[in-house]
Amino acid sequence: MFSLNQWASGYGQSQILHDLDLTVAKREIVAVMGRNGMGKTTLFKSLMGILPQWHGQVTVDGVDVSALHTHQRVAKGLAYVPQGRMIFSHMSVLENIQTGLPASARGHVPEDLYALFPVLYDMRGRKGGNLSGGQQQQLAIARALATQPKVLLLDEPTEGIQPSIIKDIARTLKDIRTLRDLTIVVSEQVLSFTLDIADRFLVIEKGRFVVEDTRANVDEASIARYLSV
């Protein structure tokens, strides 16, 4: 469903990501774990075309999207929930969701989206900037889902969010995976969250995948060692 082939990117002269290879199956949730500065956000930004890739291909459902502009990648089925949420804070919750909707939806938010995030329905008239951190995170996910994606990329979704909401988000992610046949790639530093949702674990260290484990034989201690400072 989603694959990376020899993917490389960086800033200016300095290469951050070194020839990454990854294949994610349909309905699989893959966690990319790593400390700050190891290339998680760079990976996601380059996948979305916000940062230019140096070489390599990324394919969504068999289609190579690496030469496309960001908005065209979205149309091909990539959706992105950035670190820090980046909702449109001066626009209402409803308008935030509408920015992701395709033209054919004519501005109508699908029922199932509100069913996943009831709090967004209650708050739909409020400005996005006046929501709490957890609510903003849900809004960012809802906005990404509005684009009808095949692959959802989440960059550190638990950052700065209280533990009870983190549990909610974990449950919602597992729900949407089954409801929408979604493939999810999520980057994290919090192991408990990913142990809850992920089928496969990758550890990224200095721009390379150094550990890969399936859920069945994941070694919690060894991954935790990569995450501790």
Partner: protein, 305 residues
């Protein structure tokens, strides 16, 4: 008592005169505010799009007079539409040929658009000559209504106000009720994120620039009813227009309206009591003083950080 009513009448007429200035200023500033707010482009050539709209009206008035004199009373409505289309198309072309290549260099954009304004001025001077021209106004736009014996309200002023109200209302509908407007506002706030939710920000930019220039074109058509058109007609307004945008708060259209009103009225009413340049000094000092107290402009929308 007699002097008091007389004074009141003069104040009322002067205020209405200010309303006409307000309309031209507002139409200019709305276009500029959208372009500046969304793309961060300081368009020094915005005034020339007003001039283009004004000359379009002049040419159309000449054409109707020559080929279809019977349609003369109605040509002005067509002129407004054509001015919008021509100025808009020109804006589209300018964005495609020049602005889109300079998005990462804001200071260069400033210089480039200033250069463009000089080129456009000279082009208009070469085509139409340096002498000021006037469009032949239809009969119904001339003269005035007498409210009382002392107060005369000019018809062209009323027409200007009506066009401005309609256009401003239309712009607001477009911005706050349409899909395009949603995309414009999203792009204004976060360009990168807008792309990442699937918005083609380049297309939005081009449309926005064209629309802003089109509205300036309509301002030009309207301008012909209150002044005569020369190659530099628009550039006389550009400073006041920028002042309006900054004073109103760059991201707020309501602020733009309020600030256009305040600046036009202060200017127009004080012009009656002192010389034109002193009135300008008064207006500018007031604006500077208020900007010192509220650097973000008159209106700024509040959310928690």
């Amino acid at each position: 008592m007699a002097w008091l009513t007389e004074f009141g009448a003069i104040a009322a007429m002067q205020a209405f005169n200010g309303l006409s200035v307000f309309c031209v200023l507002l139409l200019m500033a709305l276009g500029l505010a959208i372009i500046f707010g969304q793309m961060g482009v300081i368009n020094m050539a915005h005034g020339e799009f007003l001039t283009v709209g004004a000359y379009t009206t002049y040419v159309l008035s000449g054409l109707t007079l020559h080929y279809a004199p019977s349609l003369q009373p109605y040509y002005f409505f067509l002129a407004i539409v054509v001015a919008f289309v021509i100025a808009g198309a020109l804006g589209w072309l300018v964005e495609w040929a020049m602005i889109s290549r300079l998005y990462h260099r804001p200071l260069d954009t400033l210089l480039a658009t200033w250069g463009l304004s000089l080129v456009m001025q000279q082009a208009l001077r070469s085509i139409f000559g340096a002498r000021e021209v006037s469009a032949e106004l239809p009969e119904w736009l001339m003269g005035s209504f007498s409210l009382t014996d002392a107060i005369d309200i000019p018809r062209n002023g009323l027409f200007t106000v009506a066009v401005t109200l309609l256009l401003t209302g239309g712009l607001f509908l477009l911005l706050f009720r349409s899909r395009w407007g949603l995309h414009v506002r999203a792009t204004m706030q976060n360009r990168v994120m807008s792309r990442a939710v699937g918005i083609d920000t380049r297309r939005v930019d081009r449309m926005t620039f064209a629309l802003g220039c089109g509205v300036a074109g309509v301002a030009g058509a309207v301008f012909t009813t209150i002044g005569s058109t020369g190659p530099t007609a628009g550039s006389l307004y550009i400073v006041d227009t920028f002042l309006t945008v900054v004073f109103g708060g760059a991201a707020s259209l309501l602020g733009t309206i309020a600030s256009a009103f305040a600046i036009a009225q202060t200017q127009s009413i004080s012009e009656f009591f002192m010389s034109g340049s002193m009135a300008k000094v008064l207006t500018l000092s007031a604006v500077i003083l208020i900007l010192l107290l509220r650097p973000q402009g008159l209106f700024a929308s509040k959310v928690r950080k």
